[in-house]
Symmetry: C2
Subunit: 353 residues, 2 copies
Amino acid sequence: MKVAILAEGQFAPATAKTAIGVLRYAPLEVVAVVDSTRAGKDAADCVGVGAGVPVVATVDEAMARGASVLLIGTAAAGGRIPDAFRPGLARALDRGATVWNGLHERVLADPALAAAAKRGGANVRELREPPADLPIGGHRSRREGARVVLTVGSDAAVGKMTASLEIVAALRRAGERAEFVATGQTGIAIAGQGIAVDAVVADFIAGAAELMVCDAAERADWVVVEGQGSLTHPGFSGVTLGLLHGAAPDVMVLCHEAMRYGVKGYGDRQPLRTLREYVRIYEDAASWRRPPGYPPARVVAVALNTADVSEDLASATIAAASHETGLPAADPIREGPSGADRIAQALREAVPA
Amino acid sequence: MKVAILAEGQFAPATAKTAIGVLRYAPLEVVAVVDSTRAGKDAADCVGVGAGVPVVATVDEAMARGASVLLIGTAAAGGRIPDAFRPGLARALDRGATVWNGLHERVLADPALAAAAKRGGANVRELREPPADLPIGGHRSRREGARVVLTVGSDAAVGKMTASLEIVAALRRAGERAEFVATGQTGIAIAGQGIAVDAVVADFIAGAAELMVCDAAERADWVVVEGQGSLTHPGFSGVTLGLLHGAAPDVMVLCHEAMRYGVKGYGDRQPLRTLREYVRIYEDAASWRRPPGYPPARVVAVALNTADVSEDLASATIAAASHETGLPAADPIREGPSGADRIAQALREAVPA
């Protein structure tokens, strides 16, 4: 199965989060990215990953390269399908390609796209469609001995999914049975399973997280859960707390993007806190769900995203984060495997077998 | 329009929360409650409110009394329609009555009920159906000068809606322009409008709350928002935090039920905290969303629900709550208007015009 990624007008680091995650991690054969404004370039020249994958101008060109799936590669807050994407989606459906969509808006809710899908006999896979009959959280206990890690963040879109996947890889390098739990559209596209906890009916956020964690704990000794949003985010904090209480982690890894000083999309109105404050906030909130006597869930490492800064500034930022929090800190992408290995080591020391 | 309430087998204080709220507050003519296990009694003998409203055995008897609406009067966690309710619902729909449903499960999702509705040409009003196109929270500011009160709780189902309605009444008695914002199914049935924030897509909890609060602030000087769940609830905490950050209250009223020592439905596994801890937890969580320099949102009063204890124990509980927290405390139902007046006075002193 060959996949093309639709990112019309938006194939850049700040806007194509899903495309970047899929290019970096998904076990899929990506044959093209569709963005007419960047056609002719190599994906890696646009977003730093996906070397060898061409950017093309049209869905037809992508399908000429064999794509039978068109994945929507962006994920703006609010989850509307960008209008600039609709012609490409219609064309793909008309020609019988399958569309994978991770946005809140459903593809077939657009009458023109529904008509195109009907004409082409095409299918749509809604990555954010939750399963039916989710449970209310707090009624199921996971297998004893399984350890649960949750990545938490200073903001949305700071690299929690990336850190989670790199931690899983590092734990596996150390010989551990580790499993990634996808909680958002990009993670689901990569893992091939999961539940988008931001898309479930609100009463079931924790229940959805608990379901995934308990299932994964049957198969793995380390369950690494992709975090969502931030407890200080004015729009998404509810999802973050529900996920925190549903996953009920033993340990947390705080994720932060260097040079991010305010909540993304809120200008100067919502400044971020210090890393030390975030450690306290997440540990406090985690404790609310733990009955007295249970060991507290601690933040034990910091994962930094220094993609946008120089090498020197990155090193200084990592050192400063470690100094401020008293915890190991690493950029698991910039530093390569040794960065995630350092985080994994901190996790293994915090919750020994 | 005459209304009957369906509570088959469950018309009791612990299980018929929606029925009780509607009987106590809704400006609706309730002509009967349907519960064959309590038929022949008066509503007030079963749940303490609704004197003069008869409990009948069948939907047909309720319709013989003129009911053209059948409201589902229970609200169990998880939101499934109880199987014992389905025959009564089918009968009502078959005969053309309108069904009002506040549960998560949709009436017409049951093929038998959908068929009955078709046969009877009957309508269903889904109280928890969210509006389309909700915003992401944090992007809209309310009218300056409007003051926002949120009721928060030690647990779900401790009396937050009741306290909110009594506070609105007390503020109005004091000459204030006050408006109630309904955030759950019973509140919506009473107010005739509102959004069930536990039923929206999780990303939009705060946005839904902000939308309602900002709209109400155009019409009122005091906006009193019905809280949901609890920050320490293993299943519902996400809804609670999203609502807290979306409503962005100036002041909070902590609600608690006397003799409630554990999270309802979780046995001894999730004990509640002390009232003082709840004050700290809610004030902390509220501060996460407020930019530095904004005045902190404080808990300024405690509303107790002492329905299940003796007069003496109630007085002692109210005094103890006030002593422990250093705040005014009252049971706005047991004490009558003077209880809510005391809370309203604390609110007016905390945020003067």
